[in-house]
Each structure stands twice: as structure tokens, then as C-alpha cells.
């Protein structure tokens, strides 16, 4: 079993007069061994007399470790930023169930609507997720999953995703909210170190009357897990 790396995304929204502001934030947490270093006192010199040459030896030691890394970056759509409350953040801006609001923009961003079950809209964007790993026993791995570890407080909001470019509302599926059965993000791609994968994440807005906008932003957190084994 290889090392697992856990990340998270959260999303927020604010509903004001039918408009919804959403923020999407993610982070990657890397397994790090921290060791404090201290400056050393002056060392004893190596000396020789009656000659013109002196030699000294330096022993260099290191301990090799396995490492895994997961990075989210902007694709061609909405901006994925470092920080913003997590390791990464993504703000969908203002959204609504009719798909009227612009949301965040960019070639890889868009919105899709459906009236099949009332007014619903998905505001989405592409992004890249780059797994990296070293000193693992395998050169290709393993699993890359995500799940909503903290759901929106705003009713009617949910996280959806797809591993291929969407063309219609139904291309998006709800992201799992169960850590034990997360959503596969790998898809048909091979997980190769330092090879970015383009994926799509969206905020689904359900316009059912029961989903009364609170007027405040709302945030969800998504946890990504990379496992190399």
C-alpha cells in the first residue's frame, strides 16, 4: 500500500435577490516530516605542519523517503488559487437556478440548465489536478478520488463533477459525500507523476421553492485522495 494524500475543496454561496455567490476552495495537504535545524558551533580545523597540503572529509547523510503530492491548478476556466481558507480555492461567484447569473468566467467555464425537475443549473469549470509521487514501488498508480467532506450550508446547493468535458446538464454527477465510497476522479486516465489531468467540477443549484436563499455565502469542502500502491 502506498502513501495517501488528502485534499479538500470547499465552496460557498450567497443568495441575494435571486443571485447566488459561490466560492470554491481546495487544498492539498502533503505529508511532511519537519525537523528543526540549528546552526553549529565552529568546528575544529584540520591541520598539518611542515607541508603545503591538508585534506578534510565531509560525510553527507540523507534518508530517502516516499513522497506524494497533489496540486490543483486553473484550467482554462475559473481561477484556482492558492490559499483562500484552504490550500486552494475556487470562487464560482454569483449563481442562480435559472442560469442567469454569469458565474465565474473563462473558456473552460460554463453553465448548463435543466427544467426536468424544476429549475436547475450547473455552474462549472475545468481545472487540472496533478498527482506527483516519488520513490514509490510503482510508476503508475493507483487511485484518485474525491468526496464532499463538508457540504454547503445553503439548501439547494451541491457539488457535481465529471471526468470528461461536459456538453449537457446530465453529464454531471453528484460528488459523493461519503469518505468510504468517494467519487473516482482518475477515470480512464493513467496516473503518472507530474502529468496533469483535466477534470470538471460544478455547483448544482436547485431552484425548488423549499431552497430559500439565505443571502449569505456558502462553502463546501471537497477532499481529494491520491493513493499509490
Amino acid at each position: 500500500m502506498g502513501m495517501a494524500l488528502v485534499g479538500a475543496v470547499w465552496q460557498s454561496s450567497r443568495l441575494e435577490q435571486g443571485e447566488r455567490l459561490m466560492r470554491f476552495t481546495g487544498f492539498v495537504m502533503c505529508a511532511v516530516l519537519a525537523t528543526a535545524a540549528t546552526a553549529s558551533a565552529q568546528n575544529t580545523p584540520k591541520t598539518a605542519t611542515g607541508t603545503n597540503t591538508v585534506a578534510a572529509t565531509l560525510a553527507v547523510k540523507a534518508t530517502l523517503a516516499k513522497a506524494v503530492q497533489l496540486t490543483l491548478n486553473t484550467g482554462s476556466g475559473c481561477t484556482v488559487s492558492n490559499g483562500g481558507g484552504g490550500d486552494f480555492s475556487l470562487d464560482f461567484g454569483t449563481v442562480d437556478a435559472l442560469g442567469i447569473a454569469t458565474g465565474c468566467t473563462g473558456a473552460g467555464a460554463g453553465k448548463l440548465t435543466s427544467t426536468a425537475s424544476g429549475n436547475q443549473a450547473v455552474y462549472y469549470t475545468d481545472y487540472t489536478i496533478t498527482p506527483a509521487f516519488t520513490n514509490q514501488g510503482t510508476a503508475t498508480g493507483s487511485t484518485l478520488t474525491s468526496y464532499v467532506s463538508s457540504a454547503f450550508g445553503q439548501s439547494g446547493f451541491s457539488i457535481v463533477q465529471t471526468n470528461s468535458a461536459p456538453s449537457e446538464f446530465g453529464d454531471f454527477v453528484a460528488m459523493s459525500t461519503a469518505s468510504g465510497s468517494p467519487t473516482d476522479v482518475k477515470g480512464g486516465s493513467a496516473i503518472t507523476t507530474n502529468t496533469p489531468l483535466t477534470r470538471y467540477v460544478g455547483v448544482k443549484v436547485d431552484g425548488a421553492n423549499a431552497n430559500v436563499p439565505t443571502g449569505a455565502s456558502s462553502t463546501a469542502v471537497v477532499t481529494y485522495t491520491l493513493t499509490i500502491s
Binding site: 603545503n52 597540503t53 560525510a59 547523510k61 516519488t134
Partner: protein, 354 residues
């Protein structure tokens, strides 16, 4: 008949004993070098010395570092006899015959003395006068049969270049004792101080940032980058980290400290090579840089041939530190070449002063 009368006159003279002449004696001290010669013309051999104050000293010789170089010195005793009960003796000394290389400005070697209690303190080591008209006053008001201990030695200047020298240097110090109560009571003695000046070289490494660079257990120095990986995720004991597509470079700055003395050249060459490589050179590689800037690191030679080693400087000056950067490149490798665990290498540095 003639009579010869022989008279044998037997004279017996019982002279009263004459009083002993006032004498100053130069004698060995228990903690110092054993003096040669005699108490009126003693010799002190300080053994080997150099401008760095390094190496093994002769028994009974200590060294005190001064700004211009070390003082090699030894204690000895000065003893007064035959001065009478009313004596009040003062003792002075000066260099009556200086070291052959004791001239010039500044002198390359000087006679030093100490009459203080703590001669290990640099401030108590004084240059002995070379003027007969202005000798150093060592002691005054001494009664007969006094003995005092003082130290005498040589300051070897830390110097290189055309004025550098090696070999044995000898200077003679003339001690004079005078009785302040009797101008007719006066005596002198000499002490010849010799020291063999040698070339010396010194080399050390010190850390300027993490990781620590300390004394090694099986090597002279040691540095531990701690946990590292090919992504640069692990902290490497605080080393700077820079990741690339092929791996991660962990690096740290450190000081290369050359020093040398009595060399005809003022420039030395410092070079290094990996004398024992990592067991897994496909995963770890030692690199060197003069600036620490990205892209400036290059693999340290693994060839011991002098002409093939990595050169830090060909103009290293004595006691002028060189800031250098040691890099540990960790290749990002997966699959069968992967390895988890400790590995070590040894780098050999050499300072050569032509």
C-alpha cells in the same frame, strides 16, 4: 768544615673565606622546557612553531594566540645568589642578539616575555626590547637568594608571500641584575631562545545555515540532510529546496575556511571530490555551487585525480572564508529503482598551497 744549614720555613695560612660573587642564574622551571647550557648562559629550545599556532608543541611549551600570530613560550626561573643581606636587586632584560628574521616592519618573529601571573592571556605577552639602552624592567627590590618565574618565547607572525620563511631562528636575551644598594654588585646572564619555524596549513568547514555541519564520527565533518525526496516535500533538515521535473535539489550554504602560514604563495587551491559515493547514485547526487542560485549547481566530481576534481578556488587566501553551497539532488524515481532509507557519501576537500 762547612756547615750547611737549611731552614725550612713552613708557613701555614688560614685565610678567612671570601664572600661569594653576586650572581644571576637562569634555571629551568618544572613546568617548562628543560634549559640547556648553564645557569649563566642558558639555552631554551622551543621546538617547532608556525604562524597558525597549530600542530604538536614541544613538552613544556604553550601557545597564546595574538592578532599577528601565535606566541610559543615556556616558563623558566631567575635566581639570585651572593648579593648579601642588604641587597635590593633589580633585574632587566633585552634582546642582545635578535632572531635573524626579527627585523623589518612588522617583524616576522619577535622575542616575547611575560612576568604576569597569567601568561595565557594575550595581553600579558609583551614584546621584549631590543635596545640595550631601554631594557625591560622585570623585577625590582629583590633580596638575596630570590627566585622568580617568568616566561620567554617567540611570536611567529602569520605571513605568506615573498617574506615568508622557515627554519630555526635563535635570539639571545641578556639579563642584568643590579643591586640598588651597592653599585659594585652587578651580574649578567644570557638565555638563547630557539624555535624552528615551519609551514602550516589548516582547513575547516562550518555551517552558515541549516542543516548543521558538525564534527563527524568517522569523518572530519558531517552534515545530515535528514529526510529528503524527489519532490522536495520533505524538509531536508531545513535545507533550501527547489523542485524540478527530474527531482529536487536540497542545498545549504557553508563556509570553507582555508588558512596557511610561511608559504611563499599567498594563494591556495581548494578542491573537492566525492571520495565515497552514495550507495544509490541513481537516486542521490552531490552538487556544488558558488552562488546557490538556481541552475548554478553542478555535480561534484567523483574522480580523485587532482586535475579532475571540482575546484572551489585557485586563489584562496589564508584566513579568508569562502561561502560555498552544497547541494543534494534527489532524483524523482519510481518503480524498481525506488528506495526508502538512509544513504551516505563522503566528500574529500583538499587545500594545496603551492
Amino acid at each position: 768544615m762547612r756547615t750547611l744549614t737549611i731552614v725550612l720555613l713552613v708557613v701555614v695560612s688560614w685565610a678567612a673565606p671570601a664572600s661569594a660573587a653576586p650572581t644571576i642564574n637562569i634555571l629551568s622551571a618544572a613546568s617548562g622546557v628543560a634549559l640547556g647550557g648553564n645557569s649563566g648562559a642558558a639555552t631554551m629550545n622551543l621546538g617547532n612553531g608556525n604562524g597558525l599556532g597549530v600542530g604538536t608543541r614541544a613538552s613544556g611549551v604553550y601557545a597564546v594566540a595574538l592578532g599577528s600570530g601565535p606566541v610559543y613560550a615556556s616558563p623558566f626561573r631567575v635566581n639570585l645568589t651572593g648579593w648579601g643581606g642588604s641587597a635590593s636587586v633589580s633585574v632587566t632584560a633585552y634582546v642582545s642578539s635578535n632572531f635573524p628574521r626579527g627585523g623589518g616592519a612588522p617583524p616576522l618573529i619577535q622575542v616575547m616575555y611575560c612576568v604576569a601571573t597569567s601568561c595565557g592571556a594575550a595581553a600579558n605577552q609583551l614584546v621584549l626590547s631590543t635596545s640595550s639602552g631601554a631594557p625591560a624592567a622585570l623585577r625590582a627590590g629583590l633580596p638575596d637568594k630570590s627566585t622568580f618565574t617568568m616566561d620567554m618565547g617567540a611570536l611567529i607572525a602569520h605571513i605568506n608571500g615573498s617574506s615568508a620563511f622557515t627554519g630555526t631562528q635563535t635570539a639571545t636575551i641578556l639579563f642584568t641584575a643590579n643591586d640598588a644598594n651597592d653599585a659594585n654588585k652587578r651580574d649578567t646572564a644570557t638565555l638563547s631562545v630557539s624555535i624552528a619555524v615551519q609551514r602550516a596549513v589548516q582547513f575547516s568547514l562550518d555551517a552558515t545555515g541549516p542543516p548543521s555541519l558538525t564534527a563527524g564520527a568517522t569523518s572530519d565533518y558531517a552534515i545530515d540532510f535528514g529526510t529528503v525526496d524527489g519532490l522536495g516535500v520533505s524538509t531536508g533538515n531545513g535545507a533550501a529546496r527547489a523542485a524540478s521535473t527530474t527531482g529536487a535539489l536540497y542545498s545549504t550554504s557553508y563556509l570553507v575556511r582555508p588558512a596557511f602560514s610561511s608559504m611563499t604563495s599567498t594563494n591556495g587551491t581548494v578542491q573537492l571530490y566525492v571520495s565515497t559515493n552514495f550507495a544509490r547514485p541513481g537516486l542521490l547526487q552531490l552538487q556544488d555551487s558558488s552562488t546557490g542560485e538556481p541552475g548554478s549547481f553542478a555535480a561534484i566530481s567523483t574522480n580523485s585525480a587532482a586535475a579532475s576534481q571540482t575546484v572551489i578556488s585557485t586563489s584562496a587566501q589564508s584566513k579568508v572564508d569562502i561561502t560555498r553551497y552544497l547541494g543534494l539532488f534527489v532524483f524523482a524515481v519510481n518503480g524498481t529503482g525506488a528506495f526508502v532509507g538512509a544513504d551516505s557519501a563522503v566528500v574529500t576537500y583538499t587545500l594545496i598551497v603551492p
